[in-house]
Symmetry: C2
Subunit: 262 residues, 2 copies
């Protein structure tokens, strides 16, 4: 079959290769980003105007616009109507931590198994009732799960679900694979949206025992609250993992090996 072109050819001429499989707008965006990475364009500098870029690289205005929009969306430049487009300085505040990238536990389900430690129906206490917008004493499903990665305990999960015999969510959520679906998105859910909070904590006796951790041990807690399509909360719970096995990382600034689109 046809060979695949090596797209990582340094564009010393800095022009658009019409025969490349890489779209013109993406090539142009990379050329501009390379200029920033090499210091030709410094923070605060103004990019060439769109008309200039059209002429310089022989592409249509829409293509230039798309390339510039890409850089705007990625946070590398800022466009101001009537003034111009300018290179943004590297700012730590723009750091974004991707949960999926950090939790490799969920990326390959072969290494991680989920075990349900407990699942029973209990009445909501004051705290649960407030979170799930129930009355104290209303029935909820309380589930405790332990995730093991390569045989070692990695995450301890506790969750309260609204008990509704008309809705088959309880059965579905109990399945060990249901949890992974939340992370890789391959499954179907009836969730509409959710809120997730991350905070640092210290393992208590029970958590340390289940996670087989010495005490005192720092830990990360992901609290989550999910809503259905009627905007009613249906699930509240939290994951707890040892700090030494959970690290969120990110990069800010210019990275030339960044993936474009799909």
């Amino acid at each position: 079959m046809a060979q695949r072109p090596k797209s990582q050819v340094l564009k010393q001429t800095a022009s658009i290769d019409r025969n490349s499989f890489e779209p013109a707008y993406s090539q142009l965006a990379n050329i501009l980003r390379e200029s920033m990475a090499s210091g030709i364009l410094l923070p605060g500098d103004q990019l060439p105007s769109e008309a200039q870029l059209c002429e310089r690289y022989d592409v249509s205005p829409m293509t230039v616009r798309r390339a510039v929009n890409l850089l705007v969306d990625q946070g590398f430049v800022i466009a101001e109507q009537g003034r111009g487009t300018f290179v943004r300085p590297v700012a730590m505040g723009s750091a974004t931590f991707q949960l999926r990238d950090s939790l490799s536990l969920f990326n390959d389900s072969k290494r991680t198994i989920v075990r349900v430690l407990e699942a029973r129906i209990i009445g909501a206490d004051e705290r649960v009732a407030r979170k799930l917008e129930l009355c104290v004493g209303d029935r909820t499903v309380y589930i405790r799960r332990l995730l093991r990665t390569d045989g070692l305990p990695s995450l301890y999960h506790r969750e309260y679900l609204i008990y509704d015999p008309l809705r088959p969510i309880v059965e579905a959520e109990l399945e060990v694979t249901a949890l992974q679906r939340l992370f890789n998105g391959t499954g179907e859910t009836i969730l509409k949206r959710g809120e997730i909070n991350l905070e640092a904590t210290i393992l208590n006796d029970e958590e340390a025992k289940i996670l087989e951790a010495p005490r005192p041990m720092a830990a990360v807690c992901f609290e989550h609250l999910f809503y259905d399509f009627d905007d009613k909360p249906i699930s509240w719970g939290w994951f707890i993992g040892r700090a030494d096995s959970l690290r969120l990382s990110t990069q800010v600034g210019l990275l030339m090996d960044r993936k474009e689109h799909k």
Copy 2:
């Protein structure tokens, strides 16, 4: 002419308002998102094809494409060439934590002041030398800072900078405002990129004393490593804050009050 696909009976509840200040592509994206939020389009459903959207809302293909691209970029739908565009299920793995949104400390500099506790030149130990790609004993600038928000200690920062008398970075970094620039990006930096790691930890004696925290106290640590335009590391350090005043939060799924563009 062509027959209507089976499942695509999306009723037209809204149309594009040509006199609105909101661009057509944004209006269309909102209409589609509303369909998802209200359950008319469920996870896994296929969106109407671009040609159908063109005809139904009387806009050009480029406008439809831009609206769909917006939804793709925001993670609400996934477009597959040759197949169609489909509504994505809510997945916890797509959660992204924005450092800027979570650290209100840096958003208004009036409430937060930076005090330099210590700044001196010291030789690099083995650990520092490895991080900054120096030789053990090379001179570095060690800086300790304490950030106070509304008078209360909020973040404790320690940083090692490469000592270079030819570069005025030391003077600039020492300024109390230099730190904020890293977060709000209003200032100029000579940084090209950086890596940031977040992890949970437990305050040690010194940290607890400086942050006026009881022990044991869970804490969040942001380790950062910054590079200049030659891809050489120039700064390594970490912020430590009490867990009870640092919480990262995010939302996943459909949010109708989301801001569009700038």
